[in-house]
């Protein structure tokens, strides 16, 4: 293996380790041995001649495989993908350090592709995209280097480098892939022949479930897939930020559960939905808060997201769907067996203000009950940390109750940190989060706030839904799978529900009033591109085609307004082709000689031979690398021009 190929393989392996590191399945310190073995592989290469070296490596892989198999057996299939990824990374390092006369480098490339493929399941983001770009820029030249080095060779031009052609090939492949990606017709809503539950276990979609588990610690798979689009209808402009899908009222063994529905006691906490003769759904509220058209893109969505003050629902398009009203003003969506996989759209009108709805004592008791044991202890610990003048039990004054609730929200936002499962600072358990020894996500914040308010005798429930805060260019709000969120709704003494969100705002919110750094703007652009790519669907493709079809008119308009600029732009490619063709007609040996002369600050005079040029360079005291390069170019030119059998053999 030549040094060039070795460098490429080390680079490829390093990028693969970076992919694994980016998934967050293991800390950097734990992967430090792999990093060291990969980067120090040139120093370990002389040891390959010892049989013990290979035996030690093989034993190491076998031992790790056994450990991972034991781990998989004890934890089930939950961490199978993570364990397999770690094994693949170790195999990559093993291959890198054992390539020799018997071990080809084929598997290094294939294993690298496998690692890239598997890491795409682990909540890929724009950093994954950057790594993949670097990977592609190394992978293609490495393939070429492998072919060159394994083919042997004869005389090699002094300036022969694969970088230029490899970069060109990589660009061509990337551009072709982009075109195929855009143009290829496909079903964006295809479900796959595996059961959706299996897909959920693999962490493919981080959507809304029927319950919230407080012991769930698997790394979040934050998909950018578009779940729904919300278009406000004039005169409405502001879209409510919280769209509720499921209401959870009972905490049992660390799991928030919804009301039991038909099986358990019937709870009546909100004005109920009723169906009209025209098929629309209404609640006894005044529809004076604005109207929105919602389109659900995700076929597996089983609920109709609605704002808290929603009062009218009109189905625009719901082929094969049945709306099923649930407690707490939630509307579920049931799909008939032969229903086509089409988007569902509906119009929702909301009230400006929630209407009071009295609840009975039994229901109120359900909404303030804390299960005995640990939750009560956790809540007491939380409340004990708060200032004493804030902690007052609920009173009959709605304003006071709201103020107490707001204080709890503010305290949680100030004293607890946000992190996602799988990140380094994520709390090992909910108890640790309450104790302040770790960070937590929205479910932890919502659960902590719910426990605190219930301890203060404020009825509340945990809501699972989506946060609508990303606006499209035309004012439509785009809701993605990663916008899934949890918050609580608290019942005021006057019977109205208010929304309380204890999750701190994201730290990446930029201050638009001040200047942004180039790094920040580049990062924002990259993030926007990534979101656009990962959420690309049929709607985006139609929009793209419309833009492409409208492009000629735009170009014609631009040409009419700026004819000189357009003429220069059109002339540039022609000039480039002309220069390139002129350069290609020149033999490589001559081009090499002229380039070396140019580097030495000389020009080949008419009638001057290369030897005379070289002598002239020496008389002008050209030294160092430039004279060496010029001498090599002269030798190569002579070899190419006057080559003989003896010279070819040498």
């Amino acid at each position: 293996m030549t040094r060039r190929l070795q460098c490429f393989l080390i680079g490829l392996t390093s990028i693969d380790l970076a992919f694994v590191q980016n998934t967050g399945i293991v800390a950097f310190v734990s992967m430090l041995p792999m990093w060291s073995l990969a980067l120090l592989s040139p120093l370990l290469r002389p040891l390959q001649r010892f049989t013990t070296y290979g035996v030690v490596w093989n034993l190491g892989v076998i031992v790790l495989f056994a450990l991972l198999a034991y781990h998989a057996r004890s934890t089930g299939l939950t961490h199978l993908l993570e364990d397999g990824l770690l094994l693949a990374a170790l195999c990559q390092v093993h291959l890198l350090n054992n390539i020799g006369p018997r071990q080809h480098s084929d598997l290094v490339f294939l294993n690298s592709l496998l690692i890239v493929f598997v890491t795409s399941f682990f909540g890929s983001d724009e950093l994954w995209l950057v790594l993949f770009t670097i990977h592609a820029l190394v992978f293609v030249p490495a393939l070429q280097a492998r072919v060159s080095d394994e083919g042997g060779g004869s005389v090699r031009p002094p300036d022969a480098g694969a970088a230029g052609p490899a970069l060109r090939r990589t660009t061509i492949v990337a551009a072709t892939t982009a075109i195929v990606f855009v143009l290829c017709p496909r079903d964006f809503d295809r479900e796959g022949f595996l059961q959706a539950s299996i897909a959920g276990r693999l962490g493919i979609d981080g959507g809304i479930g029927d319950r919230i588990r407080l012991d769930h610690r698997r790394a979040a798979a934050l998909s950018d897939a578009v779940v729904m689009r919300i278009a406000p209808e004039p005169p409405a402009r502001a879209v409510p930020p919280h769209w509720r899908c499921v209401a959870l009222t009972t905490l049992e063994n660390g799991v928030w559960l919804p009301p039991s529905g038909f099986a358990g006691p019937r709870i009546d906490t909100d004005p109920s939905w009723t169906i009209d003769l025209d098929g629309s759904y209404r609640r006894p509220l005044r529809a004076d808060g604005g109207s929105f058209v919602v389109t659900i893109a995700h076929p597996r969505q089983r609920r109709l997201p609605l704002p808290l003050e929603a009062c009218e629902l009109e189905l625009i398009r719901a082929v094969g769907m049945i709306v099923d009203p649930r407690p707490a003003a939630v509307l579920a969506l049931a799909r008939l067996e032969d229903a086509p996989a089409e988007p569902v759209s509906y119009r929702v009108r909301q009230s400006h203000q929630a209407a009071p709805h009295p609840i009975d004592v039994e229901t109120r008791q359900l909404l303030v009950t804390l299960p005995p044991g640990e939750p009560t202890a956790l809540t007491d610990r939380l409340l004990s940390a708060m200032p004493a003048n804030v902690i007052t039990p609920a009173s009959r004054d709605p304003a006071l109750t709201a103020a107490v609730a707001a204080s709890c929200v503010a305290w949680l936002r100030r004293n607890r940190t946000y992190a996602l499962p799988g990140q380094d600072d994520f709390a090992p358990s909910f108890a640790d989060f309450c104790a302040g020894t770790g960070a937590g996500h929205c479910e932890y914040f919502a659960s902590a706030l719910a426990l605190m308010l219930r301890r203060l005798d404020v009825p509340c429930r945990v809501i699972g839904g989506y946060l609508a805060d990303e606006r499209d260019g035309d004012g439509t709000v785009v809701v993605r799978a990663r916008h899934a969120h949890a918050w609580i709704e608290a019942l005021m003494p006057d019977g109205t529900w208010i929304t309380l969100d204890a999750t701190p705002p994201a730290a990446t919110v930029t201050d638009e009033s001040g200047p942004t750094s180039w790094w920040q703007s580049a990062s924002d652009r990259l993030g926007g591109f990534w979101r656009g790519f990962s959420a690309f669907d049929a709607t985006d493709r139609r929009r793209l085609f419309a833009d492409i079809l409208a492009a000629p008119r735009g170009v014609a308009r631009t040409a009419h307004d700026n004819p000189l600029a357009v003429a220069v732009l059109l002339a540039l490619p022609g000039l480039w082709f002309y220069l390139r063709r002129r350069q290609r007609c020149r033999p490589l040996a001559v081009a090499t000689l002229l380039e070396a002369a140019h580097q030495a600050g000389l020009e080949l005079q008419p009638g001057e031979t290369p030897r005379e040029l070289l002598d002239r360079a020496r008389t002008r005291a050209v030294t160092g690398e430039r004279i060496a390069a010029l001498a090599a170019a002269v030798r190569y030119h002579e070899h190419h021009r006057y080559r003989s059998t003896e010279e070819a053999r040498r």
């Binding site: 031009p157 022969a160 492949v173 892939t177 959420a535 490589l588 070819a648």
Partner: protein
Amino acid sequence: MRGLGLLPTRLGCKASLLLAVFLLAYLALPYGNLLFALICWCLVLGVSGAWWSVRNVTGVRIGRCAAPPTAAGTPRTMRLELDVGRRRRCDFTIAAEIGDDWVEILHRRTVDGRATVDGHLPGLPRGIHELRRCRIESRWPFGLLRIRRQIPVAAELITWPAPSPTGNSVHRPVRAADRDSTIGTLRPFRGGDAMRDVHWKATARRGEPVVCERDRRHAVELVVDRHCQAPELERRLSLAAASVLEATALGQAVRLRSHDFVADTGGADSPMDLLRWLAGATALPTAHEARP
């Protein structure tokens, strides 16, 4: 693209299997843009690699193809004039079809335009080998596919018998002594003349020493009897070749006779004509008619 052969390499086969696994995962799981894009990337890489591989070998022409005659078992250099057109060709191998086998003769990293390249032929058995086809093979640029294309050529590889040491063996072909019966001219004796060149009868007649200058045109006469088995023929031809080379090196003329063939380097024939005949000589049935 007549005569173009495509075969996946070992890496290509493994990559195909891996791609099949990716496709299976894509079909099994719900649709995802990233997974689709990754599969597109792999497919485009493979297809474009195949396209570049085909472009690397198409349009290559071999002009003059010449190899000097040489003895059996001796490697030689073959000179080929390549014309690859405007596109640079990278990492390709050229093999020549000799008999039923393909023999790799050269490997080049890069070639531009027209170039004269030297290939290395291994030692060949005795004979006149017709070279009608060459084959260019490449795995450039990604090593996923092996592309082969046959190129017609016209060349002759003359391989004369490996000369064996002549020595003083009784089995050597009949070789006339330097004392040929054909006398050229008579002249007076000069200092340095060999005594055996003295023509005694003429000396007796003239009364002074006279030497005869022999007709050196037929200094060596070789007669090869081809009524024998093949192994014996090879031995005889090897001896004859050694004699021809030795005589040529000494500046002597050689006449070679064998049944229906006569060639004389003292006349219009060159030593190469003799060697060429030796390269192509075949055995005659042993039950043939009279000896040469």
